[in-house]
Subunit: 452 residues, 2 copies
Amino acid sequence: MISPSARAITRELAAYAAHSRFDALPGRVRLEAHRTFLNWMGCALGGSHEPSVEMAVAAAAEGGSAPQASIIGHPMRTDVAGAAFVNCMSSSALAFDDTHLATVTHPTGPVAAALFALCETRKVAGDEFVNALALGIEVECRLSNVLLLPPAKANLGLYVTGITGPIGAAAAVGRLLKLDEDRMRWAIGLAAAQAAGFRATHSSMAAWFVPAHAARSGLFAATLAAKGFTCSDNTLEAPNGFVAMFSSGAALDRGVEGLGERFELLANAYKPYPCGIVIHPLIDACLEIASQLQPGDIPASVALRVHPLTLTLTDRPKPATPLEAQISLHHWAAACIVQGEAGLAQQTQACIDDPGVVSLRARVSAVADPALQRDEAVADVTLECGRVLSAHAAHARGSIDRPMTDGELNAKFRSQARMALADAACERLLGLCRNVSALADVGKEIAAAWTT
Amino acid sequence: MISPSARAITRELAAYAAHSRFDALPGRVRLEAHRTFLNWMGCALGGSHEPSVEMAVAAAAEGGSAPQASIIGHPMRTDVAGAAFVNCMSSSALAFDDTHLATVTHPTGPVAAALFALCETRKVAGDEFVNALALGIEVECRLSNVLLLPPAKANLGLYVTGITGPIGAAAAVGRLLKLDEDRMRWAIGLAAAQAAGFRATHSSMAAWFVPAHAARSGLFAATLAAKGFTCSDNTLEAPNGFVAMFSSGAALDRGVEGLGERFELLANAYKPYPCGIVIHPLIDACLEIASQLQPGDIPASVALRVHPLTLTLTDRPKPATPLEAQISLHHWAAACIVQGEAGLAQQTQACIDDPGVVSLRARVSAVADPALQRDEAVADVTLECGRVLSAHAAHARGSIDRPMTDGELNAKFRSQARMALADAACERLLGLCRNVSALADVGKEIAAAWTT
């Protein structure tokens, strides 16, 4: 490990977190906090009956827990830590959650799941909730920036949501628990001491386990710190501390410069397609080509040019399961061309095994082009007749330059919420999420939406 | 991250764990497993009323948990995960636990705490318990060897008990749950995905938090894997996996060569003194000098020669709290010379603030001598009259070359158990621990020792 330079970012972030207020948030940030909460709740409902989640629910039931908080999408309650864990897992399980594009952090899951579980054990006003959510995401994404952006040497092996997620969740929960600066530093430190996760777990259920663990770890860190349980005061920047462990050459300033003025939440995006975010631009390009196909056109092969990171993370020509397909660029290119859509149906085993998709998937090739942006891709589809159809996606749908509209987010919410709730409950819940900062008791009012 | 060579150690370790049997353990290994369990139980009782543990107990009570398992040293029970967490924390809190000397892993805490908590939820025979304990420690210490011993570049920043502890605990619990090889691999992987901890948390309560987190994480990993929750099959050795994340240049072979033939448990030691293990040799030397002091001799200064690691880890001239004193070589040198002892009394605030200790502590100096072994130290004490008393500890008491006897371990057990239990209960418990492999129902019979 190295010893990073000595800026006291643990102290600075804790001070910011301990004193943050809803009133001080710019309107755009408040709005985005509402949008990401809505997106999160929809994803938690959409993923709530995935096999991995059902197993986690069964484990929670076995753990001897009291019914303190909702397991979203299920008629049961569990202890607050178990609820944070399971609800974050649900929200990740369809790979449909939000993404901080610069670092490929999925920031909202750990923070929102920890906060929402806590809100069911005590009265929390909506404005406090939204403030805590925004600040948790801010702390989390800033630390992701420290670890991964220049001058730090990028380490693609980190599963960064598991690394910085606990800290964001701890700061957020700590704010609701009204921790003073000392305790907030300890909460941040105890969360950092649970930071965990690497990419080798992708393409198994463990891919959803890591963010879920982050949610629970952050909640626990803040709960313990509230009791006076101490940690070092400089856990993040200390020699042999958090930044030293997980990065090389990092600039600590990235963690704190412009705090309260620049907000990373505004660099967070929502996925229109349920798969790895780096696949999205090529989906746009392939969908455009699919819309141009005429009856009788038979696609023979697909040639893609993508950002190098896309190839590094999603070069999986033969996915066998939905978990593998979620991070296979070959699958999504073929599925888009053959089926003309890129929704939850294209993530299923039926689509993975569809003969037409299987056949074209084997003839998808991709090359990395460093000249392309991360949200950019080019597709060339050669038809059996020899004609070539081309499309260029300059900014992926859902990216910062082409954000999902409120209407698109509502539609995405409904498509997932209806997998677990009746239509009337969906609409009630959508209204509550859109308006969460005005609620008097977040946990009670939202839980009522699905229990009544 | 790097990509280590491709030996399938996840598979090999899982196969070993899934098929391990008490009958196949050499007699010396069985014996040592009993000794380490006795030592662990004593430490768990000794630390059970430390402030950090009391806070964790309070947090457990708040977590809405069912009374599934004992909180050792307390009249209450909590859920199995909370019990694993708190009991491991207790056993670490006085820095009196066991040490795998080559890697400074404290292996028994995470494994024993996870196992014992599980044993209170179902009938587990003593021989199964001892086998699981031995195998968990084996897996844990072997992975510590992989990460830290040559050809791996030593990384002193890792808090290695938190890194490999979850995996040892998962393998052990997985054995009791009778996981097949597939599920054992996933248990190991899910535990690796929770591996966490760095040294910057030392000298705060978080130093006990990290092993406690390891115990609970391992238990949870095995519990989830038992339900079919998957992980990658090669989590340890995969590119961007566990070994790649936590080490550089590691030899995977260290993890598996001689499995079932050579046992790391035989390289595990018990502390005679409640402080960082690297301080022990200089304590021996200072105690020897203290025993030579005559009435009227006034120590003026202490000059130490120690192994370089001792200075790296415990160079703390002005400890203010028991937590800091536990890892201050200056404190223990001064306390030994002034008070002639190195027990729990020398870890207290009273000793830290004792004017005689404070005064001499300021005149303790230490130099690193690469020619010394890790369990070796030389002390020179200069008296006010100018005379110099010297002592050389060639092998620290409690080290592998000079192990604690059964009698010494019994005495250590009693000194700690009496802090929480009546004498009769101590003796009953001592007998049960010494004989644990013969018990028919480990959890029930041991818990009866303190509840009746």
